[in-house]
């Protein structure tokens, strides 16, 4: 078959479809979003009724996928790395229940934090859950790992994890497809209590999972994704994980002088590692993200063979790898011919001109700065986080999905006034609703602004789970309907917006203000589509 140009994310999506996927479950998050979008747009999805609607958050996604596995079908779960924290409860426990139909969990890590608040490495989650996990070095491997991964998951009776990084997720290259497989029929586990994690059963499953570890190592030793490539210079052996391998080989187009162990499947292949350690004087570990492999090889006391990598400064301790940092690690230097131009200024992203969040922040900062100078604004994850920068400098926090409401509550619980939260509609339904219930039950004095643009804007305008339901959700949770105020964030309404804001800040209790106007990007796209 001829090669098709795919983003790393698209290669995963196509592989899942080709492998007989029955459902993808995901919440949008850079750099994972394009996987689900590709599946949603593929003709086979509608034709074969493959589930592809966005989920409310990563936890509901993971749980629904486990349900699909329960009935014997193949499910894909996709999220950005911090989504793993949300899905973790079910993810870790799914290793204890095991899988029936194949499950692949894709965690897209973001080393260098291009669009994230930390650079946690999802391989630690794979290790923590004690399941096999994969790390592709290119788009074709991403395809092959997913295509073969469902069968592997079913064979070992466990979910598997695929760890991506931004650079691969958002890089295009030619990919060769394999033949289309049919979806699984509904079938159930032979053990009717497989998914019943009562302590007595869970203890048994846990022991069984531990016993499988040797088989997982053996699978890694025999995996085509782990390759031992010999080299003449035994002064150093190199362990190159995922796309770290590409940056290494960029320096050695004719082949590397050192022996290289290329890693794509975990747990680490013991046999090949032992060979590398036996034959070489030292080990260099090249891995994108945190020093996961390096820590294991080095041990806490560094008593064995000399291990170099991110921990000893051979490579930078943080940030994504690149061909230059890896060149330096093998004693080379990529020379600059032109110096960096001193006149180039940083150009940070900003809220679009005409965006409703801008009107919300204009009014909010004017009222708060002039009338409540001691205020604090707790915000959240989304486009409106850009309110932290010029010209608004409006927010005092941005931590994790939903934390605006609960942090505002904690501050108010501590006696602080006025405590204001700013959260987007999609983030509110993702993880803000439970915090709102806490606020209502504590009868706390907070003003919560749900800036509703009727989409998940930051990731490119995906459906928002709460569109059309926000007032009902808030009143259902117990917010007094008199203090659920909807406004249209437009210049002509500034006076009305200001008065509502004052009234609700002064109200001693939970108030919710919903400035609602559709995202100008999704609106423009809809207009364009209607035209053509």
């Amino acid at each position: 078959m001829s090669k098709i140009l795919f983003l790393g994310d698209e290669a995963i999506a196509q592989a899942a479809l080709d492998a007989g996927l029955s459902g993808v479950y995901a919440y949008p998050g850079t750099p994972s979003t394009e996987i689900t979008e590709f599946i949603q747009g593929a003709p086979i999805t509608a034709e074969k009724k493959i589930h592809s609607r966005w989920c409310t958050n990563e936890k509901t996604a993971m749980e629904a996928a486990l349900g699909m596995s329960f009935v014997g079908k193949r499910a894909l779960v996709c999220m950005k790395h911090v989504g793993m924290n949300v899905a973790a409860d079910c993810f870790i426990n799914s290793a204890i229940t095991g899988a029936n139909g194949g499950i692949i969990v894709v965690a897209a890590d973001d080393p260098s934090m291009h669009s994230s608040q930390n650079e946690q490495d999802s391989r630690f989650y794979g290790d923590f859950a004690m399941i096999p996990f994969f790390e592709p070095s290119n788009q074709q491997e991403a395809y092959d790992m997913v295509y073969n991964g469902f069968e592997f998951s079913e064979k070992i009776g466990e979910p598997i994890l695929l760890r991506m990084v931004t650079r691969l997720a958002h890089s295009r290259s030619g990919v060769e497809r394999k033949e289309q497989k049919p979806q699984n029929e509904i079938s159930f586990s032979m053990d009717p209590r497989q998914f019943v994690l009562l302590p007595a059963i869970a203890r048994q499953h846990n022991k069984e999972l531990i016993l499988k570890m040797d088989d997982f190592v053996k699978a890694s030793e025999e995996s085509p994704f782990n390759k031992y490539i010999d080299g003449p210079n035994k002064k150093m052996g190199i362990v190159a994980c995922g796309i770290g391998y590409n940056y290494l080989m960029e320096n050695y187009p004719e082949g590397c002088e050192y022996p290289v162990l290329k890693i794509g499947q975990y747990p680490l292949p013991k046999k090949q590692l032992m060979k590398l350690v036996k034959e070489c004087d030292s080990i260099l570990v090249i891995e994108d993200g945190q020093p996961f492999v390096e820590k294991q090889l080095n041990g806490y006391l560094s008593l064995g063979i000399k291990v170099k990598g991110r921990m000893d400064g051979t490579l930078p301790r943080d940030g994504e790898l690149n061909p230059d940092s890896v060149a330096r690690a093998v004693g080379r230097e990529n020379k600059q011919d032109f110096p960096a131009s001193p006149i180039v200024e940083v150009r940070p992203p900003a809220l679009c001109q005409g965006c409703g969040h801008r009107d919300m922040y204009t009014v909010l900062t004017e009222v708060l700065n002039n009338e409540y100078p001691t205020h604090k604004v707790f915000s959240d994850i989304g486009c409106y986080t850009l309110g932290a920068g010029a010209p608004f400098y409006a927010i005092n926090s941005c931590v994790d999905m939903g934390a605006s409401i609960t942090m505002a509550k904690g501050a108010a619980d501590g006696g602080f006034f006025p405590s204001v939260a700013v959260i987007g509609d999609s983030t509110f339904t993702h993880s803000g609703m439970t915090g709102l219930l806490d606020c209502v039950n504590s009868e706390v004095n907070v003003t919560i602004i749900i800036s509703d643009n009727e989409t998940t804007a930051m990731t490119g305008g995906q459906d928002s789970a709460g569109t059309g339901k926000l007032e009902a959700i808030c009143s259902g949770i117990g917010v007094d309907p008199k203090h659920i105020r909807v406004v249209v964030p437009l210049k002509k309404n500034y006076e009305e917006m200001k008065q509502i804001l004052r009234d609700e800040i002064n109200y001693n209790g939970v108030s919710v203000i919903i400035p609602r106007r559709e995202c100008i990007q999704t609106l423009a796209r809809k207009k364009k589509q209607a035209k053509s």
Partner: protein
């Protein structure tokens, strides 16, 4: 044959549409390619870039090493300068000359001009005006693409064919306008080389 290209611009300008045409053409030629893009937060008016590598032998890294880039293609002058450390001695810079000023500390016209003068191999053109002359401001990216043709190492005919295929579903008028834009850009670069 090996070309390492950095495409630069500001989020929303549409640098990826240029990458799409080059990528399609490279595949037609049976070349290997890797193209790293920026999605997500930076697309909101921040600086964006894409590393596009094409070669007749397999490519290792998705990212271009420092000092190895053959061609910087930029829709914005200050953004073209951001990637100078990646450009090799013989490399070319092809950029739009019209600044997009959405930050308070944008460099002065004079500073920008002086910085440009330090780059030996360059084509600076007013893509927006040329695009308007050709028929529509919307073909600005294709004008810029046209100006890179002498430096891409891919023949003009195959490039024209790719443009045709990409715009075919929008009708013959759009195809013709884009081909004219491509030719207008190429003409400027050709003149410059003479």
């Amino acid at each position: 044959m090996k070309k390492d290209i950095i495409l630069a611009g500001v989020g929303g300008q549409g640098i990826l549409s240029i990458a799409t045409v080059i990528g399609k053409t490279a595949l037609k030629k049976g070349l290997y390619m890797k193209q790293a893009e920026v999605h997500g937060m930076s697309q909101r008016g921040g600086d964006v870039q894409s590393n596009l590598r094409i070669s007749d032998s397999p490519i290792a890294s998705d990212l271009i090493p420092t000092g190895k880039c053959d061609l910087i293609i930029s829709l914005e002058p200050m953004e073209s300068l951001r990637y100078l450390p990646f450009l090799n001695k013989e490399g070319w810079l092809v950029t739009n000359e019209t600044p997009l000023i959405n930050i308070p500390k944008y460099p002065s016209e004079e500073d920008l001009k002086k910085a440009m003068e330090k780059v030996p191999h360059k084509v600076i053109l007013d893509v927006d005006n040329i695009a308007k002359e050709v028929g529509s401001a919307r073909v600005a990216n294709i004008v810029l693409l046209g100006a890179t043709i002498p430096f891409l190492g891919i023949d003009y005919d195959t490039m024209k064919q790719s443009v045709r295929e990409i715009f075919e579903r929008k009708g013959e008028t759009i195809v013709e306008m884009n081909l004219k834009a491509l030719a207008a850009g190429k003409e400027i670069a050709d003149k410059h080389l003479q």
